[in-house]
């Protein structure tokens, strides 16, 4: 399949301007990274609804809680490591109170590339998934990012949108994304299934093509809604295909692979499951390509894992 690549991060600001034009209750909170996350576009368009917290992420997250209490819809936009890690207990309070706070977490997984292990958020899905009331969305293309932001604004309660810094296929959405629904991107047979989160869309698609070239006929499934997850879809696939592999820009602990295992584990019979992701290690600095290759996010590794089971 031929497609161009695009960085979703570059669309965050424009998307927020679009929803912020329609809905005057939307505020955006930044922690001195507006240029990197592109929320400076929202700042230019709506300076009165843009709040700069400075490099004080915990304060920023709780400020969002206060804005939500006043009936606003704050979007806290920052690198995934800060949104999910630095202010985890502040977010936990927001989830406990079911406050209407939205987060867009850019640079998930190893997308912080050259910054190294300090800034690689290979734990964000794990950290977010354990919080009751929180919804987690994982867009894989520009349409889905736009739909995810609009969906988040409509949902009453906290929402975490995982937004790739690395490139994803610049393809239109297969269909309108929905909360709690996965997207079956390709369905050629039951030899295998590749399940992926949004930031690994390119790798998952290239892997699927390689499988096709090997003569394997399988399914490609984008787990757009990580929480709530589409258990019915995943179980149905696990009952049909011969083998499954999850592909994630995240630790293999607590992320999409773990989630899939939890979903299928009490089925009497299901396909064996392999996981592609960062093994239980800290990563390092490097270009996006080099880091992801070294830590297992390659077509070869996806095929090898599929062949091993």
């Amino acid at each position: 399949m031929q497609y161009n690549l695009i960085t979703l991060r570059e669309l965050v600001g424009a998307t927020l301007v679009e929803v912020g034009t329609e809905n005057q209750d939307i505020y955006v909170i930044d922690s001195d990274l507006a240029k990197s996350t592109t929320t400076n576009k929202f700042q230019d368009a709506f300076p009165e609804r843009f709040f700069e917290s400075g490099i004080a992420e915990q304060n920023a997250m709780s400020v969002a809680a206060g804005m939500a209490t006043e009936g606003k819809i704050p979007f806290y936009v920052n690198f995934a490591i800060f949104v999910s890690g630095t202010c985890w207990t502040q977010l936990r309070q927001i989830c406990y109170a079911n406050l209407n706070v939205k987060m867009i977490a850019t640079h998930p997984g190893m997308d912080g590339s050259y910054d190294g292990a300090t800034h690689h958020a290979n734990e964000d899905i794990a950290l977010m998934r354990v919080l009751p009331n929180l919804k987690i969305l994982s867009p894989s293309n520009p349409d889905e990012l736009s739909q995810a932001v609009k969906l988040a604004a409509k949902i009453q309660g906290p929402v975490y949108i995982r937004c790739a810094r690395d490139s994803v296929p610049n393809l239109p959405a297969k269909k309108q994304v929905e909360l709690g629904k996965a997207v079956i991107t390709e369905d050629l047979g039951d030899d295998f299934a590749i399940l992926y989160e949004g930031s690994t869309a390119d790798l998952a698609m290239r892997s699927f093509e390689a499988c096709k070239e090997n003569g394997w006929k399988g399914k490609l499934v984008h787990v757009f809604s990580i929480k709530p997850v589409d258990s019915a879809c995943i179980c149905s696939i696990a009952g049909k295909v011969k083998k499954m592999v999850t592909v994630e820009n995240h630790s293999v602990l607590g992320g999409l692979g773990s989630l899939t295992a939890e979903v299928i584990c009490n089925m009497p019979n299901h396909a064996p499951l392999a996981q592609v992701g960062v093994e239980d290690v800290f990563t390092e600095s490097g270009s996006l390509k080099a880091v992801k290759e070294k830590y297992g996010l390659t077509v070869e590794n996806v095929l090898k894992k599929l062949e091993e089971i």
Partner: protein, 275 residues
Amino acid sequence: MKDAKQLKLLANRNRRRIVEMVYRAGVGHVGGALSVIDLLTAIYENEVDFKERKRARVILSKGHAVPAIYAELVEKGIVDESLFPTFRQIDSKLQGHPYTCDIPETDATTGLLGQGFSMAVGMAVVKKNEGDPHKVYAIAGDGEMQEGQMWEGLMCAAHYKLDNLVFILDYNKLSSSHPTNEIINLEPFAEKMKAFNYHVIEIDGHDMEQILSAIAEAKTVKGTPTIIIANTIKGKGVSFMEHVPKWHSSGLTDEEYEIAMKDLEKEKEALVYAV
């Protein structure tokens, strides 16, 4: 608007409710609730109208002192006194820390120290932006000032010149086991806040006249947030609790309950006689 004499009587009634609640439930942070109750009573009674759609907010960042809020919400008819034995118990809406899903009037789900003040900043930003004239009152404890997030919030509120934000320090000088300033010294606090560009008012947090005058003064301040440093006594009003760290969190025996209620009854009689 209630005057100081009326508020003193209400604060005494709230003190008896706090003791009753912690005695009936067998658990609870009684000391810090008794140190903050004069301040809370004055603010809730005179500044908050729960019937208004837009209204002043009160954030108890030191959420463990929640018996003080529940006591005042009984006064407001929002919490029923019959729930006191259920405080901190299973299936109760009187959670151990303020929880807005159960009681929205508590304004902020707090408990993890250091977070409530930042929430107040968020509320004040929106109110200021939208021309809502009501104030946001945030109350923190002195031990809570050891949390880093407090200082993030303090810098932020001053930077944005949030003159609709009133920060109140319940300065009872005791944490769960030690004098707070022996653990990590907060002093010189007033000077620190002046350096942060706050309008600083220092009062006796149990003197209702001083509390009312500080609240009134805060309303006149323009271009900077106000801090009211309220010097208080942990366990205030109950003879054997005052200044005793144990009463940070403890249930009462029958005998202790009797003594506490007698102390407070005596105070009430003195107040009634004074009126």
